[in-house]
């Protein structure tokens, strides 16, 4: 019983030690930064968009501009196809 208690305490301390060895917030932040897309990969976001074909047609009439309507396979904003 006493051995079990000691074992539990040792295990708890060991786990606590391992936990403290997990990388800290700065490491996670650096990892987050490293995973950001590059400017070149986000260049597409410089294109001005409207939300729907209805809105595009309405604005086209007002501004006398042509509409570029593209229906693509996937989500343009997320990049998932």
């Amino acid at each position: 019983m006493r051995f079990n208690l000691i074992l539990i305490i040792i295990t708890f301390l060991a786990l606590g030690h391992l936990e403290s060895r997990a990388p800290g917030p700065d490491w996670v932040q650096s990892r987050v930064d490293a995973l950001q897309p590059t400017d070149a990969q986000m260049k597409w976001s410089k294109v001005s968009f409207v939300r729907s074909l209805d809105e595009a047609l309405q604005l086209a009439r007002v501004h006398r501009r042509p509409v570029f309507f593209a229906s693509v396979d996937g989500e343009l904003d997320s990049g998932r196809c």
């Binding site: 996670v28 976001s45 294109v47 968009f49 047609l57 570029f68 693509v72 396979d73 997320s78 998932r80």
Partner: protein, 351 residues
């Protein structure tokens, strides 16, 4: 051409960006082009039958219209249907012989149209074949502008990126960035058979474009993470469900996760702030898109959530994969996912 290809190709060309912004009103909508029933592809139909046979879910019932059949009816508006019908009647975007499969027609809504200010179709761009040739698209854009005599001007409207759902007080908007660690990555994509044993039906994609999405945690959801112990299942699923490689659109089934766990541990506490550590891991089979095969995404992730005592608000949220792998045994590609509190650096949002 898909969204990824559009972003990395056409829409990364300076002359095209300039022309669209100065002369056009641009709109993009998403379609499952190749999954629309009107796409006469025997391999796709076989795949759908395979899915059904194996008990996998297929997308909701399609919408049958005069302009074709749409597998994602919720993405198709009346205005779009009118346009698709016009294109079909004029045999513009809808009847193009497949160059690699004579006798088969590539039809459906994946295309681009140039419309006059009054909504008349002026030109059609066949994206699957011309989308990777920006010079042709650029020429078509210029031709329409010259024909109309449209003077240059500032963009008419620019959307901002961000969560697709409206934010409420207390909500925590998180930006999720996903990418393969080494890109471009050559990724074999089995387009017909679940077991991937048919080489003729395997294509290789080069994945170069990262994915950026948003998650919104309601106040009760992120506050639940402050309590050490196992994270609530719903919160963990909401957060970790986005930890998949930058491939298909997400369609989460009931059996999305093979394994998943997320645990919160106390990390630091001061008079001003409380910080908790988030440990997560999961194994997700490739069921999040249309290409259901035997690939699996696995990851371990670590994160920190810091809350300010005085304001009760989240100071920071950051989480990242320590390790992520996607593929089949022996053929795994490393991928990474980063989540952080949205700093308001917003770009665009289209549906």
């Amino acid at each position: 051409m898909g969204a990824m290809g559009a972003r990395a190709g056409l829409l990364s060309q300076d002359p095209i960006i300039k022309t669209l912004n100065e002369h056009y009103v641009s709109v993009f909508v998403r379609k499952y082009g190749h999954d629309d029933v009107d796409w006469i592809g025997s391999d796709r139909r076989a795949q759908v039958e395979d899915w059904k046979h194996n008990g996998l879910k297929v997308n909701p019932p399609p919408l049958s219209t005069d302009a074709g059949v749409f597998r994602q009816p919720w993405t198709t508006t009346e205005a779009e249907l009118r346009l698709y019908k016009t294109l079909k009647l004029k045999e513009l975007a809808y009847l193009v012989e497949h160059p690699e499969a004579p006798g088969e027609a590539l039809v459906g809504p994946v295309h681009a149209s140039i419309l006059s200010p009054d909504g008349e179709v002026m030109d059609v761009i066949n994206l699957p074949f011309r989308g990777d040739e920006p010079k042709f698209v650029y020429a078509q854009l210029l031709r329409a502008v010259e024909e109309l005599g449209t003077p240059p001007g500032p963009p008419v409207r620019t959307l901002l990126a961000g969560p697709k759902e409206p934010l409420r007080p207390g909500d925590l908007a998180l930006r999720v960035d996903v990418r393969f660690i080494a890109d471009p990555v050559a990724l074999d994509d089995v387009i017909a058979h679940l077991d991937g044993t048919a080489p003729a039906n395997t294509i290789t994609l080069r994945m170069e474009a990262p994915v950026r999405e948003w998650i919104v945690l309601r106040e009760d959801e992120w506050r639940a993470l402050l309590t050490p112990g196992r994270a609530p299942q719903a919160v963990a699923e909401k957060l970790l469900g986005r930890f998949v490689p930058p491939t298909d659109q997400l369609v989460m089934d009931e059996d999305y996760f093979e394994t998943m766990q997320m645990e919160t541990r106390a990390y630091a506490r001061s008079a001003e702030t409380t910080t908790v550590q988030l440990h997560a891991s999961a194994r997700i089979k490739h069921s999040w898109g249309r290409n259901r095969d035997y690939k699996v995404a696995e990851f371990q992730a670590l994160g920190y959530l810091e809350v300010d005592h005085a304001s009760g608000a989240v100071n920071s949220f950051r989480m990242a994969t320590m390790e992520g792998r996607y593929g089949t045994p022996g053929h795994q590609i490393p991928f990474g996912v980063a989540v952080q509190k949205d700093a308001g650096e917003q770009v665009i949002s289209v549906r």
